[in-house]
């Protein structure tokens, strides 16, 4: 299945901003991170269709997954 992955902040370093990528069916957010070489504890926020999801959330074909390290401001 195809997932659009968007990366932000330091996750972009040596990777990409946005890419369509193939993943096996039933892949989780954690699986996507692993495939990108990102340690799971580094994840700050993951969003699918503008909703917060967890490492265990299963992504489905055609979704957009946005991944952020721990960031803040105000």
């Amino acid at each position: 299945m195809k997932i659009t992955v968007k990366l932000f902040a330091i996750f972009r370093n040596d990777r990409f901003k946005i890419e369509d990528r193939e993943f096996p069916n039933e892949s989780t957010v954690g699986d996507v991170l692993t495939s990108l070489g990102i340690d799971h504890p580094e994840l700050g926020v993951a969003l699918v269709n503008a909703r917060h999801v967890t490492l265990a959330t299963v992504v489905t074909d055609g979704q957009t997954l946005s991944l952020f390290p721990k960031v803040g401001g105000g």
């Binding site: 902040a9 503008a50 917060h52 952020f68 803040g72």
Partner: protein, 576 residues
Amino acid sequence: MNRIFRVNMKDLTCKIEEVPEAWAGHGGRGLTSTIVAAEVPPTCHPLGPNNKLVFAPGLLTGTPAAQSGRMSCGAKSPLTGGIKESNSGGTSAQQFAKLGIKAMIIEDKPEAGKWYELHINNDGVTFHDASALKGLQNFDVIDAMNAKYSTKIGVCTIGIPGEERLMSANISVKDSDQKIRSHGRGGMGAVMGSKGIKVMTIDDSAGKRVEIADKDKFRAAAKVFAKAMLDHPVTGEGLPIYGTNVLINILNEAGGLPTKNFLYGQCDHHDKVSGETMHDVIASRGGSTKHGCHAGCIIQCSQVYVDENKEYITSGFEYETVWGLGINCMIESLDDCARIDNAMDNIGIDSIEGAVLLGVAMEAGVLPWGDGKEALRLMNEEIGKATPLGRILGNGTKSVGDAYGLTRVPVVKGQGIPAYDPRSVKGIGITYATSTMGADHTAGYSIATNILQVGGHIDPLVKEGQVELSRNLSIATAAVDSTGMCIFIAFPALDIPECLPALIDMINARYGITLDGDDVVGLGKSILKTEKAFNEAAGMNNAHDRLPEFFELEPIPPHNVVWDFTPEEIDEFWNF
């Protein structure tokens, strides 16, 4: 810090007083709000003789504690009609602390047309004719004061909008790079202007190091505290690299980024003005991606933004300002946004109010959406010169909405709503509604838990848990605002268990006292209640703790949600 400087602008006198017992445990916001509540008649005109302008450094300001150099400024606000505290970086807080000034209270006003420089040193305050400075904007005032004294002189100044008492006018504080930090929100510059004060200069050369009761205990706690700042990924890595503007992309992805005067929750060109882009632009041009607003800041969320020739454009270019210009006004050029930010520093208006009011002005057709050049002209030539149009604009977001008969006017208690949509980030909506300061994201930064997943997670789109979240954060923030600490210590404080105890230990070691966590919560609660009581006596009631009606009527994409809290649910905030 053991003295109160009481300045009277009618007699041009300064009395040096002892600190009354009741004020001894207060600093920063707690102290300015306590003094305003005790001494300012709540129904007075904010620009009249009975309002008082109060400055107070925090409880820890002047010590080696990281992040502790913020100055609070308080008064009755001309913008909200209620109590106001606005804190700023720059050098003034640490200079006051060195001079042992726990607070400076400025009373009354001189005869119309008189302008003064207040010169503050170890002996008190002297009053100097400042008519030659009238009509100068902030950077020229700073240059003039640096030439008169030296670059070490502390400077707090107003531009023409402050002289003309426009309600978006701020007070600009010189930082150690001779640039500007601001007591931004609530029109404190108009209050300063109403008192005939063009500039305050601070000479701390005869000052002393702040005394610490238990140095060993202080040193140990300060170390733990600083380590927490550097260990937390937000304060140790995210903020120094990207600044606060890292929030553009995450709010966009979450659908909470108010776009085109709060019509949409996402913006197509978000990445053009994002923190990531800003970092790359600054780095490629040879500016500074890291910068502190005062000595002793180890987080360094600020930056110096330069043009292609490495010439300074602006610094302290914060998320809320970039959002307001780049997203809410659709100005896609980061350079244009930076120039407008610098113009707002120079003329001396709040860069949040300035950006939010421009969005409403665009909706009114005063200028086209996205027109950064015209926005810059309006700042410099209209608001900056207080022309008739400049007065309509410079009196703030509500003034523009009223003048043009609009309903999508994002304000609470007259103050412009910043960078997070309350329909799709509901916790911050409770803070906007209930804050004693008018719409103020910093008063109880629910974004941390709603969006950033710091301090746990509460779904931004559900109502459950939001009131309690906002209440707890607001209480904690009132206490932290009393220490002189910058707001970003909240990130480590929410996640790292040793952080808050270390902060309390530093206060205890500094004063030789024994506060515990409950005392600090109690302090936060009593500050909020003091502020609320002032607002009620000034004529506010529960009906002022509400968001504008359009948030209930207009669903915001992509979530297509409205603001759906009942009045009773909002009022639960005050149940403590």
